[in-house]
Amino acid sequence: MWVQLEVFLQTLIAGILLGGLYALIGIGMTLILGVMKIINLTHGQLMMVAMYIAFWLFSLFHIDPYVSLLIAPPLLFLLGMFLQKALINPVLRVESILPHNQVILTVGIGMVLQNLATIFFTSDYRSTPVDYATDAWYLSDFWHNAPFELSLSYPWSVSFLLSVLITTALWFFLTKTDTGKSIRATAQDRDAAMLMGVNVGFMRVITFGLGAALVGAAGCLFIPIYYLFPALGSQFTLIAFVITILGGLGSTMGAILGGLILGVFESMTATYVGMGWAPVGRFAIFVAALVFLPGGVASLLKRKAVSK
């Protein structure tokens, strides 16, 4: 009985912590989707770039990956702005047979990034073995006669809290600042925003930079608990894509919930079905969201707000 409860609670904790990190990956993609109306399929590769920055800062200068949070995301912001300005914007202007060749372009950018990483850094696996990697808080330390044991990993918790902090900061930025409001206006109605004097082109550049910076931050939060290799990107692009669909295209709140749902769902699948089934579960939830909840979690939120 206690044992089963312990397994359940430990799985739930793991799922929520993982979900919080997934949410941060998803938000960046959702933001870009909302403003630009394209799926950024190079999202995971941008995260890989940020992870390499954090890795080299750690191995060359012994800078803690969490401190890299102040270095890698700004660099990624610049990289994102550059990609948008130099590569994606020109393609947006070209009329073509394929309506979504910007999406194809992002796939191409991702491939280039991945191959560059392979050439420069080889395909070896890397990691930042920090000292606190296996530290954790234990329930029995606080409650001596606890009938069961739970643990809360130190780096996982720090990553989770920082992810929440970054998300809150983003929310403030989008709702309270002029630039943030302009971004949301562009997302809601591009033409109206343009008529109101919002520099739509510039907002696009900012948004892509912001999306890249967010996933860059996620990379810095991931590297202490995970590892790194050049082909890691596509895995996280897929996760971000699933979260975006699950959360409702373009909704920030939806992406947060989508990330949490996916994290908990994956953990529960691993415990109660089998860990080999995790990729199947991810795909199943993706299809289920498309079929049964086309608007994602965001549509549920909206419906509730309307009925109130």
């Binding site: 397994v7 799985t11 793991a14 000292d131 860990m275 080999g276």
Partner: protein, 395 residues
């Protein structure tokens, strides 16, 4: 004067003739994957052959003849390996064949060699069936897949005496076959397999599956993983404080130094099966390791040690062989009973295998952040640590 001149001439002729005989090289073509996905291992094997070749020739070669190796690239493809070997037996009349790396290539080469009654010494290919097909001319120095964990099993039977085991493995061919073999052997040894779970390579979070393992409370947790998953697994086991009596890895990711670098203190006391380590007390093992490291700047894996030793086995058989005929060399190989840097070499017919070298595989344990050989005890470089301390009591 004339007589002296004639004598001198005769002497000169004799010495020239014998000198000619002296300079007769034994040229052997060696098929190896030097490009393609397996090139890394092909490279290690090639370099190790070269070290052995140099040493053997420096000591006077085979009955005074120098060994010359010509490396041929098979790209790790069975059909190319096959055609290389067909050519070198049919056209070049080479009386003995060795090398190749992957099991698929070794199988192809073995079939050709058997058909043409030419002895073939396998290097490092692990598939069991290579020496299970009643081939008379195929020999293998390394233990096959099924015996890979035999050392670990004997360590468990003699020291740990576990009742239950949980097996976690990567969902690849390598992981699946390793887990299957272990489950079979564990059941044979009277252990109960509580849990056998596969995972997707590259998973971020093993905690859900590990909390299930914790609830099952097995005596042994056996894992078949590559290095990064191995490190993540041990880190999260430490974090969840799963106190199994033994944490065991099935070679691969657990047996290389990178595992300790990444898992850090969570790697401490983890044991793993392996075929060879530079600490084994076999003559030449340490010297080979140092020489390789000094010459090429990297550490050789067990594949290298096998290649290095196998050339010695070939040289030994050639020097004992009555002639350079295929059947004589085969008989000489069959009579091999020598010590190599990899361990004792003796080709036996046993348990459904033919011409297979049986040996005890090693067990390593991470002690003081370094891999130490702990089993079999006669080869141990350090005393094993068992029982291992509980996570709570560490540091």
């Amino acid at each position: 004067m004339r007589r002296t001149a004639a004598l001198l001439l005769a002497l000169l002729l004799v010495s020239a003739w014998s000198g000619l005989a002296f300079a007769k090289d034994i040229v052997l073509a060696v098929p190896l994957p030097l490009t393609g996905a397996q090139a890394k291992f092909g490279e290690i094997i090639k370099k190790s052959y070269e070290i052995a070749q140099e040493e053997i020739n420096a000591k006077g070669g085979v009955k005074g003849d120098k060994l010359v190796l010509n490396f041929e690239d098979s790209q790790g493809k069975p059909e190319i390996a096959r055609s290389i070997v067909e050519k070198l037996i049919d056209v070049d009349k080479q009386p003995v064949v060795f090398a190749e790396y992957t099991s698929a290539c070794a199988k192809a080469v073995a079939a050709v060699a058997e058909e043409r009654k030419t002895p073939y010494l396998v290097v490092a290919s692990a598939a069991d069936e290579i020496t299970q097909q009643n081939y008379k001319y195929v020999f293998r120095l390394n233990p096959s897949n099924a015996y890979y964990a035999s050392g670990l099993l004997s360590f468990m039977a003699n020291v740990v005496k576990p009742q239950t085991i949980a097996i976690l493995y990567e969902s690849s061919d390598f992981g699946t076959s390793g887990a299957e073999e272990m489950a079979k052997s564990a059941e044979k040894a009277g252990m109960k397999v509580l849990l056998k779970e596969k995972y997707e390579k590259g998973a971020v979070d093993f905690k859900p599956i590990l909390s299930k393992v914790k609830a099952a409370n097995p005596d042994v947790i056996y894992m078949v993983s590559y290095v990064m998953d191995a490190a993540l697994l041990m880190r999260q086991i430490k974090e969840l404080r799963i106190d199994a009596r033994l944490f065991a890895g099935g070679a691969a990711g657990f047996a290389i130094p990178e595992f300790v670098d990444n898992a850090k203190d969570a790697a401490e006391f983890v044991v793993t099966a392996t075929l060879w380590s530079p600490q084994v007390p076999f003559p030449g093992a340490k010297e080979y390791f140092e020489k390789y490291k000094g010459k090429y700047g990297s550490e050789p894996s067990y594949h290298g040690a096998l290649a290095y030793s196998s050339l010695y086995v070939i040289a030994d058989a050639l020097s004992r062989s009555k002639s350079m005929k295929q059947d004589d060399i085969r008989d000489a190989l069959k009579a091999t009973d020598m010590m190599t840097a990899f361990g004792p070499a003796k080709f036996q017919d046993k348990d459904g295998y033919q011409n297979q070298n049986f040996m005890e595989t090693l067990v390593l344990q991470v002690i003081g952040a370094k891999h130490q050989t702990i089993w079999p005890e006669k080869y141990a470089s350090a005393k094993y640590v068992f029982p291992i301390p509980k996570w709570r009591d560490r540091k």
